[in-house]
Structure formats: C-alpha cells, structure tokens
Symmetry: C2
Amino acid sequence: MSTTAIPGYRYGDPALPPAPIGADGLRDLRAACLLSDDDLAALSEAAPIIEPQIEEILDTWYGFVGSHPFLLASFSTAEGPHQGYLAAVRARFGQWIRDTLRAGYDDRWLAYQREIGRRHASGKGEADGITGTPEVVPYRYLAALIVPITVTMRPFLAKGARDAEHLERMHQAWFKAVVLSVALWSEPYVREGWW
Amino acid sequence: MSTTAIPGYRYGDPALPPAPIGADGLRDLRAACLLSDDDLAALSEAAPIIEPQIEEILDTWYGFVGSHPFLLASFSTAEGPHQGYLAAVRARFGQWIRDTLRAGYDDRWLAYQREIGRRHASGKGEADGITGTPEVVPYRYLAALIVPITVTMRPFLAKGARDAEHLERMHQAWFKAVVLSVALWSEPYVREGWW
C-alpha cells in the first residue's frame, strides 16, 4: 500500500525537526506507560485484524466527534463543519492507526508524532491549506479522547482474536500505545521546560 | 474519617482559585472521556472495596516509582529520595483515590484538581515546605502514568467484585476517572489558551 499518496503525511520526512526525546527518552516513557516489547508484538498481531476494518473504525470515531459540538468545533468554520478538512484528517488518522500497530517506534516516528502534536496545538489546518477553523484543538480533549480511542477498538480486535486472552493482550497493548501517543503529542502544548 | 489531618490537602478550601472550567465544561469533558452517571455509580460501588486496600495500592505505586530513577527523581534532592516528601505526598495520593471513588465532581473538586496540577507543574514541594527537589514533574510522565494507575487497580477491585461484569464495570469507570483527572491536571502545564 502506498502511503505517499496521503496529503500532509510526513512520517519519514527528513525535513521534520527531531523530537525532543531520542531512544533513551522513549525507553523511559515506554517504561512509564508499561509498553513492553511483548506489547509491540501484540500490536503487530493486531495489525492484520484491524487494517481491513479501518474505515469502519474511522466511521465510529467520526460519528463520536460529529455528535459532540464541542469536538466538531475543531473541524468547523463559521459556515459549519468543513468536509474537505474532515476528509484530509481522516486519511491521516487511518494511517496513524496503521503506524501505531506496526510499532516501528524509531526516531523518524518520534519526529512525526511531534509534528502531529504541533498541528493540533497551533497552525492547525495549515497542512491541508484550510483556513477559518479554530487554531487549536484544546488539549483537554486530546487527553480525554484516550478513552474513546481505546474502548471503541475492542470489538474490532475481537473479530480476529483467537480467544479472550489474545483479545485482552492486544487491547492492553493498544491502550498503552494510545497513551504513549498522547503523551508525545502533548509536547508542543506544554510550557517550555515542563514537558 | 477526618481528612483535615492531611497536610496540604485543600479540597473544599474556599481560598483556592476557581478551576478554568465550570459545570458545563466538566459535562463536555466527561462526555469526551465517556464518563457517564453509571460510571460514577460504579465508582461509588468500588469505594468500599478499595478503601481498606489503599495502603497496599500505594505500596504498589510507590514500588513502581521507586524502581524507575527517572520517576523517583521528582521526589529526590541531591542527597537522594526525600522520605518526608514521599510520605507527605503519599497521604494525599491515598486521599485522591478516596475522592476519585466518591465521585463528587463539583466546583470545589474541580478547583482542587487544578491545585493538584499546579503543584506538579510548578512550586512543587511548596505545600510540604520541601526544597531541593526538581521544580516540575515532567508532564509526559503524568500522562504516561495513566496506564499503571489504571491497570494496577484491577486486582484490588477483583477482590470485592461480584462477578466479571461487575469488575469490568468498576475498572472501566476507574480508567475514565483517571483520564479525567490527568486531563484536568494538565491545565497549569499548557500554554495560555491551548488547554
């Protein structure tokens, strides 16, 4: 599958500034959120189960955002929800699921997580040439969305899990990976030196 | 149980500045992290199960922090871990468990969550008259700790759960309440207008 076709997707772009932490910092952050190598293996097992269901998962998440005006506001101009913007973000959101499951958490991945955080914190819409939407996704919602992004994944994992234990292992790994992502995305939001 | 005996505990103190969100903002934030009234009921059911086990839970959490130098650093001076500081925080941490399970999420609770966040972000140690420890708990660890604070609670809940469904219901509610807490604690860390 070609991913270069996704506008604004910059995983691996050498022009991105480096992340504020490198391999050692990532090791500590992974330890803090209990994301072990076994969890990375579980994510890899989840990848072929989830990938064919990504559009359905995105439907679920977009349904959730669309039903809460205070979340939809981030995608809206004075004229209402911006469909082109919603679609552009959707393609990258799907790719984020793929990348998270592939679990190649290297320096290039770290740099792109920082870029994802930056786009939520400021210059939002820039990557898609969108104007008129709010400048910032309020951080408190980014943190809160850990819950729906975690719990809604379970039935999709269940469709391919071998048994209850396998499901639990994949779901726990997903939970940890989502928390890791949000911890990394928070960096551009946080005051200098406090991250 | 008297809680006024806990030094630095200020839930209900009218001198605290108000939180940046009120009842409407909390309603939205609870919706974003799926924390329903049923979840609050599940937390209330969890309270009598957990309260007699709080010291054991804190032993688990302190063991986790103590085994990771990058976490223990927040409690350490140049001379090493500050036992008095660790003990002072521990009493409030136990009370935070009680308050979270009692789920009386009103304006006074919001104001105290903001104060908890503020103490992590700056002026750390102030409430206990401690000097020489780092000024800030790095925010990325606060976010990451959502995972251990969530998953370590499960076996303690299991001791009093009626059945697997009851355990799941209480554990999910706890997960959501932890995410809500961290979302609120993030406010003093985040740049002006981006929270």
